[in-house]
């Protein structure tokens, strides 16, 4: 258990299906690991304090704020970022619905919104529009595209009878 002060630590994550390893100082967050070490810049740094949701990723299937996770603490986890959702040939149903419903303007919050919405749908507790709004309250959109975001999620949620069938 002992370690010398400020020692760098070896971490390994399965990110979008690929095992990635890095050596990090203990203060490095999962968000900075993704962006700075692995060049996965789809995950955005908004507030860096767990208040805006722009950094939302799925960790072991659950949506979390990657800015508040120390990378060294959760080594071994399975992480899905926006780069692992949909392809340029085939968008994820939520991505298609976001386009259809104008659920973004500048797009900065969108990767976090999409990851969060996938988490929301797989949790399976939200059924009504009120519940979608409540369940998505951890993702701010300063362009104010909230109505479109709820429309998009509502449409995909209705189409997904089994949450597990979402890619």
């Amino acid at each position: 258990m002992a370690a010398a002060p400020n020692t760098a630590h070896r971490v390994a994550y399965t990110i979008n299906g690929v095992i990635r390893v890095a050596t990090v100082e203990p203060g490095v967050t999962l968000l900075d690991l993704l962006r700075e070490e692995f060049d996965l810049t789809g995950t955005k740094k908004g507030c860096d304090h767990g208040q805006c949701g722009a950094c939302t990723v799925l960790m072991n299937g659950h949506r979390i704020n990657s800015c508040l996770v120390l990378a060294v603490s959760r080594s071994g986890s399975v992480v899905t970022t926006i780069e692992g959702i949909g392809t340029s040939d085939g968008l994820h149903p939520l991505q298609e619905a976001f386009v259809k419903h104008d659920a973004l303007q500048c797009g900065y919050c969108t990767p976090g919104q999409i990851c969060s919405a996938i988490g929301l749908i797989s949790e399976g507790t939200a059924k009504t529009r009120d519940e979608i709004r409540e369940g998505m309250s951890g993702n701010l959109c300063r362009c104010g595209a909230y109505t479109g975001i709820v429309d998009a999620i509502e449409e995909v949620m209705a189409a997904v009878s089994d949450a597990e069938s979402l890619p």
Binding site: M1, A3, L68, S73, R74, E123, R133, S137, G138
Partner: protein
């Protein structure tokens, strides 16, 4: 963020020993508050002891018919657990009223108990704060104090405890199970958090080398009624200005037989007045009795320069939450209209 040494505890004993060796160490669980405090240099531990490998993620029934929830169970997993949802819906409701889904998925039970105040001066290292830097002063008392305490504050500190979960735990009457070098200790929730007094740097009565193992909920209360009513500046994802947790039973003659009521957002700890609660027992669940109770609960309230509105707001919140509980129409945490 200040640099620190990271160690990973492989056993509870090892975590306790490590805390004893490194008095300024902090335990890392979900990290949603601690990592944030470290980014602001409000928390500057030289050692972080990661306890995520400890076997504290179980929810199980206790011998007396209650429920034990491990320290590392996430807030989300507590809220959706079938036994919690069925037998302690007040706890589930309060948890779902707090933070965001992302934070609840990472934050743990123990971390929720140990989270620090969100007083803006506490968070700003460029200002004095008796809680962060003892003896430096309290700018909140003459300053921006709209969200601060109206009950139990001291000259040195007017901060409030930010948790929703702890308000429900106070009403339910939970017990915190901790372990230190000398063994196990059970701390009633009412004695776990403390009032600021002359030592506002101390949020709890936990010793520096003790580890929280979990919480225990008392035996299931049959035919309970409840409501968690949280009043805040925006519809979701905001700390309470005032909240009320009501845990109630009413007997066959329509008289109150259990009355456990806690207030959040008003003090350095969840606020209860058991003497006032006792006066409700045996009386009809009527608005006039609820109003009388609420007045007693708020009788010692003292407003700061910007928050005198909170006294009447708290009184009304308690009455409304009691009416919601009595009529079996608890506050929804998604449909926020107050009925």
């Amino acid at each position: 963020m200040k640099r620190f040494t990271y160690v990973r505890a492989v056993s509870i004993d090892q975590a306790i020993e490590s805390l004893s060796v490194h008095p300024d160490a902090k335990l890392l669980a979900g990290g949603t508050n601690l990592v944030d405090l470290m980014k602001y240099d409000v928390a500057t531990p030289t050692t972080i002891i990661d306890i995520n490998d400890l076997p504290l993620r179980e929810i199980s029934e206790t011998a007396d018919g209650g429920l034990r929830i491990g320290a590392l169970v996430t807030n989300s997993d507590v809220a959706v657990h079938p036994s919690v949802a069925r037998h302690y819906p007040l706890l589930a409701s309060a948890i779902l009223a707090g933070a965001s889904a992302q934070l609840r998925n990472a934050a743990t039970v123990a971390g929720n108990l140990m989270q620090r105040t969100r007083c803006s001066y506490f968070y700003d290292v460029l200002t004095p704060c008796n809680k962060r830097a003892p003896g430096s002063g309290c700018p909140a008392r003459p300053g921006l104090n709209r969200n601060h305490a109206i009950l139990g504050a001291s000259e040195l500190c007017v901060a409030t405890h930010p948790s929703d979960m702890c308000v429900a735990l106070a009403a339910i009457g939970a017990t915190i199970i901790v372990q230190g070098p000398n063994g196990l200790r059970a701390i009633p929730l009412a004695d776990f958090h403390r009032l600021p007094g002359d030592a506002p740097e101390k949020d709890t009565t936990l010793f520096g080398n003790e580890v929280i193992l979990g919480i225990e909920l008392p035996p299931v209360l049959e035919h309970h009624r409840y409501s968690y009513l949280k009043i805040r500046d925006r519809l979701s994802y905001a700390f309470a200005i005032v909240s009320a947790a009501v845990w109630l039973t009413i007997d066959d003659e329509a008289a109150i037989s259990t009355a456990q009521i806690a207030l959040g957002g008003v003090a350095h700890k969840p606020w209860r007045n058991t003497a006032a609660e006792a006066l409700l027992i045996g009386r009809p669940a009527s608005r006039v009795n609820f109003e009388q109770f609420a007045s007693m609960l708020l009788s010692g309230a003292v407003a700061l320069s910007e928050n005198d509105f909170k006294i009447d707001l708290a009184r009304r919140t308690v009455v409304r939450a009691l009416e919601q509980a009595a009529s079996r129409t608890p506050q929804s945490q998604s449909d926020k209209r107050i009925h």
